[in-house]
Symmetry: C2
């Protein structure tokens, strides 16, 4: 690999001059030309390790997500990456596969790799753990929490207004005349799940419908949970007449289970799913689903990160709560 030294030798100029030029300094025209030529000829490119060692910046943002296997996160990421890239940053992603130990480990790995900032879709990690994993020079690495804030941990966050989204979904089912409405959520330990449940509970309250705890089922956010819990609900003596499922994979699972039982969602049973916008189209009648503004989330998170990177600590911690969009199909 060619180094600045080589370029210096090739051009007859000094190390310092080359470096200055590379970093946007001005040199005399003939020198500029010679430097350019040498760089081209030698195929020189700066060694980021060395540079980072010196500058303490890597122009790199680390992203940690629970998994890469779901389109929701992929969309968020894609928008985030675009925003950061436009500002000259490269983003690196790692997934912790829903594993809490890995979650922390990945955070540490990023820290060890001296990323300038961290975007985190947290699941099990606590505020203290984040701090300890990221403890480093000066005033620390900026962290943006996406999709899930951590209650009690002051940190910039970009989230969905889960509460009102679920509220609206349940409200819709209520206006259709349903009184026994079930909900399948992820573990309430996950903040978004809790919020979604709260929206559900509040809608029932506001319409004077008593909540039946047996209609509230907690799953693991996966296909299998959706399938299994749907069956469990329908096997009850007095099954719900409508159902709300609050994430992508569980929605798919529930839809599949309904199929297996010959239940047509939206006709035999009121229904609201989450995220599965494309999939909602492959069945008929089309499913009602809540669509989260994934790209917007990514963009907002990116912008906020850039702001912090620029040293602007204004109104920290900032909490952006984005509105979800409801797609109604089938009977109104």
């Amino acid at each position: 690999m060619a180094t600045i030294k080589d370029v210096a030798r090739e051009t007859g100029l000094s190390l310092a001059t080359i470096s200055k030029y590379i970093n946007g300094g001005s040199v005399r025209e003939p020198n500029r030309a010679r430097i350019e030529a040498a760089i081209e000829a030698l195929g020189y490119s700066v060694n980021r390790n060395a540079r980072s060692l010196k500058t303490n910046r890597t122009m790199t943002i680390g992203v940690v997500m629970p998994t890469l296997c779901v389109p929701f996160f992929g969309d968020v990421l894609s928008a985030l990456d675009g925003t950061l890239r436009a500002a000259g940053y490269t983003t690196f992603v790692c997934s912790y596969e829903f594993d809490r130990a890995l979650e922390l480990e990945k955070l540490r790995a990023l820290s060890n790799n001296n990323v300038d900032g961290v975007v985190l879709i947290a699941e099990g990690v606590t505020g203290e753990e984040i701090e300890s994993a990221l403890r480093r020079g000066g005033r620390g690495t900026p962290v943006i929490l996406v999709d899930r804030a951590i209650p009690g941990y002051p940190c910039d966050s970009v989230v969905i207004d889960n509460l009102n989204a679920t509220y609206a979904a349940v409200e819709h089912l209520i206006t259709l005349g349903h009184k026994r409405i079930g909900i399948i959520v992820a573990s309430m330990e996950i903040y978004t799940a809790f919020e979604r449940f709260t929206g559900y509970r509040r809608a029932l309250e506001d319409y004077g419908i008593g909540m039946d705890r047996t209609l509230v089922l907690e799953g693991n956010n996966d296909f299998e949970s959706g399938e299994r819990l749907f069956h469990r609900l329908m096997d009850m003596e007095n099954p719900p007449t409508a159902l709300c499922v609050t994430n992508y994979d569980m929605t798919l699972g529930a839809v599949t289970a309904a199929h297996e039982r010959g239940i047509v969602l939206g006709r035999d049973m009121g229904f609201f799913g989450f995220d599965a916008v494309d999939v909602s189209r492959v069945v008929s009648p089309r499913l009602n689903v809540v669509e989260q503004p994934t790209r917007l989330m990514g963009e907002r998170a990116g912008e906020l990160m850039l702001k912090r990177l620029a040293g602007d600590g204004d109104s920290f911690p900032e909490l952006l709560r984005l509105k979800a969009r409801l797609h109604f199909f089938g009977q109104e």
Copy 2:
């Protein structure tokens, strides 16, 4: 940030001793204890930039994919990451959003970040471009191509046996009695698409069925393509009686379009999709789909990478061709 120097001062030992210990060397027990204590107290962790500058290794693998929004790549990645992590490597992912310029840029970004190896799901990039983007010290960074080999470019690759998978799918449709079989593929410029088409063509040949070029439609690998091209096929004067769709999103699109037209796939029309194993369950009758061994791909790619990283250049370039699995449902 604490450095080795700090640990040295804290313990009264020398820099070199600390470094040796950190890198697995042996020191006298009392010293070991003191070092450990100091590290803990100072919250020291090694600066990978500095280390890499010295060792020329970062213990980091870069992965470049077309997108993160499709489960197929997510699965491959997850398995790949697991394999590499077990060997002490951290993997960083970046996506080029199907953009050819970005594809090269990401490769360069990784190279500049001194990754030890690159795993690439290529789309538009050529062999020369890869070489030039990665040109650096000594015998160069190992590259593993996943999902798509680049014809004429000698490089380790892990791919699916697309040809035989599609062959078998089409063969199945033929044995059901179909003679007019359509296919929706991605652009033939993409190697996998070409292979899938070839499987299709060869199956028809082998069964003495003349190929009708108007039944071969090229899309953009997205939902919209699947939907649009399905309609195009069915709007023909003499539409096909069976159809093969060769990727995830286009399968979803085609299924949706079928729905819109009231066509029940597997009953009114022979059908074979790709990848959408979960989704295949939410419609009835269940869809026939080709399932690619995503996790296995990731593992194999990881193992091959580790082998190359260990300096084992045995049987280069290695081409691993993995078998896909066909899920038959509905009528046999």
